[in-house]
Assembly symmetry: C2
Homo-oligomer: 230 residues x 2
C-alpha cells in the first residue's frame, strides 16, 4: 500500500454552532448513534503525543473486526486525514477555523460528511480532536468513549497540571514507552496523579512506533465498542 | 542550593477580566512596562515541551546580567513556581481556574503580585503561559517579546498545524535536540513551515537538559531585553 494518498482529501470547514445547549445536543447525538449502532470515541491529547500514529497502530487489530472511520480535526492542514486514508481507513478532515475544540454540533457536521464518504455502515468512529489538553475536555461531543494520550516526553506531571482531561476520560494511553530510557518519566507518579482525579480511568502503556502494548489497548476498545453496539 | 523549595509558594487565583478591549489594555500595559524599564516575555508552547526546564537552563546565563522573575501560569498545581524558586529566581504561581490562556488584565494581576514579592526592580519578567498551542496565541498579554518552544518529540509538523502560534512569535526554540536520534524530526521542514507563516521568526536549537545551544538563546534574549529597557 502506498505511503501517501494522492486523491483529494475531503475537507469540511466546520461552522460555529448556533445551539445554546451543547450538553443536550451531545446527549441527543449519543442517543442517535446508539440507535444506529455506531460507537464514537473522542480522542484528545496535547500536540504531538502521537494520536494519528496510535490510530494507525490500532488498525492492525481493528481491521477485519470493526468497520471504522476517522474524523481528523485540525485548525489547518490535511496531513492527518491523508495519513489515515493511506492506510485504507475511511477519513475526513475537519477544519475548525481557529477554534480550539469541537462541540457536539461540529461533531455532527463531521459525522455527516464521514458517513456520506463511504457505502459501509461504520461500527466505530474516532474523532481525533484538536491537540490541546485544556479546552476539548470541557465540551461533550456526544462520544461514548473518551480517550487521552500522554506521551512519555511530555512528562509524568501532566495529569496534575491538566486535571479536567483526566477526570473526563475513560482511557489513558501512555505512548512512546520506547523513549522511557531517554526521559525522566515516573509511570507510578503519572498513574497516581490521574487516578487521584479519576479512580476508574483505565491505563495502557504503548509504543505506537514499535507496536508494544497496542494489542491490549485494541482489545479493550473492541470490547467497549461491541458492548455499546450490542 | 536545595532542589526543593519548602516555603509556601505565593499562589494568585486570577480573576476573569471585565475589560472589553483586551488589545487596548495590552497596549497600555506594554507602555507602562516600557516606562518602568521592565521587559515582559510571553512564553508559550504545548504541554511538556520543556518551558520550565528551559528557564532554568537560561538562568545560568541571565543571572548576574539581568534581574529577572517568572510568573508560572497553571490551571492547577504549584510545581513549576516551586522549581523556579528553588533556583533562586523570583516567582509566583498564577492559577487560571480552568481558563486556557491569559489576557492582559490577568497578566497585570500576576505582575502586581510578582513585583510585591521582591524588593528588587525586575528588568525582565517571563510569563510562562498555560501549556496550549492554540488559545494563548490569540491574546495579547502586553508582552514585548513572544517566544514559543517546540520540542523534538512533538514532531516537525506543528508549525503547519498550529499556524497562529508561529505567526505571532518572535522566537521559536526547538528543544530536546538531544532526543533527535530517537525521533523522526526534520529540522529543515519545521523551520520551513514556521518561516512560511512568519519569515522574520528567529529559530534556536537547544537541549535544556544538556545545555547545548542555550547560551546563544540567552544572548539573544539579553540583547532584546537591553534594547527594550534602553
Amino acid at each position: 500500500m502506498a505511503n501517501t494518498y494522492t486523491d483529494p482529501v475531503k475537507i469540511i470547514e466546520l461552522k460555529e454552532s448556533i445551539l445554546e445547549d451543547n450538553n443536550k445536543d451531545a446527549q441527543d447525538l449519543r442517543s442517535e448513534l446508539k440507535a444506529q449502532k455506531t460507537c464514537l470515541l473522542n480522542l484528545m491529547s496535547g500536540p504531538g503525543s502521537g494520536k494519528t500514529t496510535t490510530l494507525l497502530a490500532l488498525n492492525k487489530y481493528l481491521r477485519g473486526r470493526l468497520k471504522w472511520g476517522v474524523m481528523e480535526a485540525d485548525i489547518d492542514s490535511d496531513v492527518d486525514a491523508r495519513t489515515i486514508l493511506s492506510a485504507g481507513i475511511s477519513a475526513v478532515q475537519l477544519h475548525t477555523g481557529g477554534m480550539c475544540h469541537l462541540d457536539a454540533d461540529m461533531t455532527r457536521q463531521g459525522l455527516k460528511a464521514l458517513f456520506e464518504s463511504t457505502d459501509e455502515h461504520l461500527d466505530f468512529v474516532v474523532l481525533e480532536n484538536i491537540g490541546n489538553l485544556v479546552c476539548p475536555a470541557e465540551f461533550d461531543t456526544g462520544a461514548a468513549i473518551k480517550m487521552t494520550i500522554l506521551s512519555v516526553p511530555e512528562g509524568d506531571d501532566k495529569p496534575a497540571k491538566y486535571p479536567l482531561m483526566y477526570e473526563e476520560c475513560d482511557l489513558m494511553v501512555v505512548n512512546k514507552i520506547d523513549a522511557l530510557p531517554v526521559f525522566d518519566f515516573d509511570k507510578e507518579k503519572a498513574e497516581r496523579y490521574a487516578k487521584h482525579r479519576n479512580p476508574s480511568i483505565k491505563v495502557f502503556y504503548i509504543s505506537a512506533k514499535t507496536g508494544e502494548g497496542v494489542e491490549a489497548l485494541a482489545e479493550e476498545i473492541i470490547r467497549q465498542v461491541q458492548a455499546w453496539n450490542a
